[in-house]
């Protein structure tokens, strides 16, 4: 879907930031960074406080009735905005790819779900594809290993966007870990339902990431990053982990995910 770029629009678009439940609970810094980036890209940002979660835990557990109820709530909450942006490929993907499927036999809701799907984006996708945002000049001497999260890369087609933004940071070198788009083992409820399998997947991912000798690890989904950071800390590895929004916002000096604030 090709959306008109918002550059040169006379009125600022009203953008709802869908922070996601994980950012809300674990890492508000990602929410603040996302809001700042969106504002810098020319948006009027609002954070509707009726937001909870996109409903994936119910949807992925096969509880469609509950997923539908939550989807209705999300659709109503965001209906009036020009755009909805989430710092997560997985939650944006839920709205964009799966909400319409939930209402296949309710024409009225289907239409509303489609409208929301069309204006919902993952953060880096929105910044690059819709806002044509150019990062202000900034510097960070480091090498970075980027983890492409599964829903981001395969459901939403996000690959170039974070890279094109990150390469604008001078001094930052991007490395590609082996099997960069393979799953880190998080998988929502999967990681607690099958912890041993999840741990093996995480181990494989950790090895691929640390083999790059990068100073920083980043990605676009907090679920994966909590998992990866948790694995690294347990192994005594202090490599810093940030959500991509934090790096783009220039917060790499602050404590990373799972790092002591000191």
């Amino acid at each position: 879907m090709q959306q008109p770029s918002i550059e040169g629009q006379s009125t600022q678009p009203r953008v709802a930031l869908f922070a996601t439940c994980l950012v809300d609970f674990f890492r508000p810094a990602v929410g603040f960074a996302s809001a700042r980036l969106l504002e810098a890209a020319g948006c009027r940002v609002e954070v509707p406080d009726g937001q909870t979660c996109c409903g994936q835990p119910a949807f992925n557990s096969g509880d469609d009735a509950s997923a539908r109820a939550i989807a209705r709530q999300v659709i109503a909450l965001f209906a009036s905005y020009d755009y909805v942006v989430a710092p997560s490929g997985s939650c944006a993907g839920m709205i964009k790819c799966h909400y319409p499927k939930l209402f296949s036999d309710d024409l009225d809701m289907l239409e509303q779900a489609r409208q929301l799907a069309e204006k919902t984006f993952e953060l880096t996708q929105f910044l690059v594809d819709i806002c044509s945002y150019q990062l202000p000049s900034q510097q960070l001497q480091a090498t970075l290993a980027y983890h492409d999260s599964c829903s981001g890369v395969r459901e939403m087609g996000i690959y170039e966007q974070p890279r094109s933004l990150l390469t604008a940071i001078s001094g930052l070198t991007l490395t590609t870990p082996k099997e960069a788009d393979s799953c880190c083992g998080f998988g929502g409820t999967f990681c607690v339902k099958y912890p041993a399998i999840s741990a093996r997947l995480l181990k494989n991912k950790q090895t691929a990431l640390t083999d790059t000798d990068a100073d920083l690890i980043s990605g676009g989904d907090l679920g994966c990053l909590l998992n990866i950071a948790g694995g690294l800390r347990r192994a005594g590895d202090k490599t810093k982990v940030y959500h991509v929004a934090e790096l783009l916002d220039g917060c790499a000096g602050q404590a990373g995910i799972g790092e002591d604030k000191g």
Binding site: A19, C21, D24, F25, F26, R27, P28, A29, V30, G31, F32, A35, R36, V47, D49, Q51, T52, C53, P57, A58, N60, S61, G62, D63, D64, S66, A69, I70, Q73, C150, S151, R154, E155, S182, C183, G185, G187, F190, V192, K193, Y194, P195, A196, I197, A199, R200, L201, L202, N204, L226, N227, A229, G230, G231, R233, R234, A255, I257, G258, D260
Partner: protein, 470 residues
């Protein structure tokens, strides 16, 4: 084969602790995956071909009755016989009867997943036939008395050392010096199998495709063993499931190009053979009898359901090779004939939700399988649909249902949600030292294997509402 899908979690945990298995499975990730990627990188028309392959199989399924009847007529016209087996039991009975009627003693087999599905070997052995698997992988697992762990590489879970040990045990009558290299082991198996080929009365093979237009069955192998099974014994039996039928040779050419590349990264397998009925009088050599046993086993019912797309599967194994769960735990943990993503779809449908309820859940929904499936089967969506079925049939655990319902109530009540969210984040932030928690009540499954990064201390939404901007 008897299912142990019920014990999935235990089986998986055991598999994870097996270092030999880990070594063996590394070959899958490094071998098949890399070779497939290279093969398709050299095929610019891959996307178009895949679309076409998808349409051919979909069309065949939509007109399955027509093509099956046409296929049957053509087989009969070529002098062969067609037998319809609705259940595994019927399939076993039919094959045993054919073997008995032809006064056979020795049976050799080429690789056939559907024969595993209907547990044919057990039935033949119980009826006192001497059965020898002739595909090298199948032969290895027959000696080891194990089921296959991969749909195209049944012994992929075995290391060379394990195969060597197995051959030492079973080939005691072979003289001469033994060579434990891969080539040496292959030669050793070849010597043993040659005798079996020459003595066999009946050859049983599967079929990769059945051609409605000509009545031929198509066999794709890399070892040529299938061809010996089809041409040396006096009776040839083909076991095939009903969804293998496709309209014509034109369609076959499309599917063959997709199959070998998806499976092993080869442009074409080493042997691709089409067989039409028994040997004609003027041919001299070849089987005198030619039977096709068409197995349904629930497939015609599946056709009418939301799971019909699974029937497009051409058993290439790509979804297994790219599945992070399969490549971590191997095929046996899935507990039945078909492992990996396609197995996690087929097993609950064929064995029942009760038996295999874990399988659709043991997936991170990462989508890699769908991305590589040459038939564009939406495996993650099918797995999700099975989860729905499990949820409405209440086959999943009480604890996880309960936890989910509590969470749903919270998610549907934003004010309450906010309160619990913020109190939780604050408490965890207070308790934690050093940025992570090593343990936390109710997060045991997480903290058993990794630390839990601590929340910063206050929820984002509330902080924003208060006017905080960083």
């Amino acid at each position: 084969m008897k299912s142990s899908a019920r014990d999935f979690s235990d089986n998986a945990e055991k598999a994870l602790l097996n270092p030999d298995l880990r070594r063996a499975l590394a070959q899958v990730r490094e071998g098949f995956v890399v070779k497939r990627a290279k093969a398709f990188a050299e095929l610019p028309e891959f996307a178009a071909l895949r679309r076409l392959g998808h349409e051919i199989k979909q069309h065949s399924l939509e007109h399955l009755d027509y093509y099956l009847e046409r296929y049957e007529r053509q087989v009969i016209a070529a002098g062969g016989q067609v037998h319809w087996a609705q259940t595994p039991q019927q399939a076993r009975d039919i094959v045993v009867k054919i073997c008995r009627d032809s006064a056979a003693q020795r049976v050799i087999k080429g690789k056939s997943m559907v024969s595993e599905e209907v547990a044919l070997n057990e039935a033949l052995e119980a009826a006192d036939f001497e059965v020898t698997e002739t595909d090298l992988g199948e032969y290895i697992i027959q000696l080891a008395k194990e089921p296959p762990s991969h749909i195209i590489a049944p012994a992929v879970h075995k290391t060379r050392e394990q195969v060597n040990a197995l051959f030492r045990d079973h080939h005691k009558n072979l003289g001469g010096k033994r060579d434990a290299s891969v080539a040496g082991l292959v030669n050793e198996a070849r010597q043993v199998l040659r005798q079996a080929f020459l003595k066999a009365d009946v050859g049983i093979t599967g079929a990769n495709f059945l051609i409605a237009e000509t009545g031929a069955h198509v066999l794709v192998t890399n070892e040529g063993n299938g061809d010996l099974c089809s041409s040396l014994p006096r009776v040839h039996i083909v076991t095939a499931s009903i969804e293998k039928v496709i309209p014509n040779l034109e369609d076959l050419s499309v599917l063959l190009r997709l199959l070998a590349r998806s499976a092993t990264g080869q442009p074409l397998s080493v042997y691709t053979t089409l067989y039409n009925g028994p040997a004609k009088a003027e041919q001299g050599a070849g089987p005198k009898e030619y039977h096709v046993v068409l197995v349904d086993h629930g497939r015609s019912t599946l056709l009418g359901t939301e799971f019909r797309e699974a029937l497009r599967c051409i058993r290439c194994g790509a979804c297994l090779n790219h599945c992070p769960v399969y490549t971590a735990i191997g095929g046996h943990a899935y507990g039945w004939v078909y492992p990996g993503p396609i197995g996690a779809v087929l097993s609950p449908l064929m064995l029942g939700m009760q038996e295999a309820h874990d399988l659709p859940h043991a997936c991170t929904l990462n989508g890699h399988c769908q991305q590589v499936c040459p038939m564009e089967i939406p495996l993650p969506s099918l797995l999700r649909r099975l989860r729905q079925r499990g949820f409405s049939d209440r086959v999943d655990g009480r604890r996880s249902r309960w936890a989910l319902q509590v969470w749903v109530i919270l998610a549907r009540h934003p004010a309450l949600y906010r309160f619990i969210n913020d109190v939780g984040a604050w408490m965890m932030g207070k308790v934690a030292r050093g940025g992570v928690l090593h343990r936390w009540p109710m997060a045991g499954a997480w903290t058993r294997y990794r630390d839990l990064p601590t929340p910063e201390g206050s929820g984002f939404i509330s902080a924003w509402k208060r006017g905080d901007r960083s």
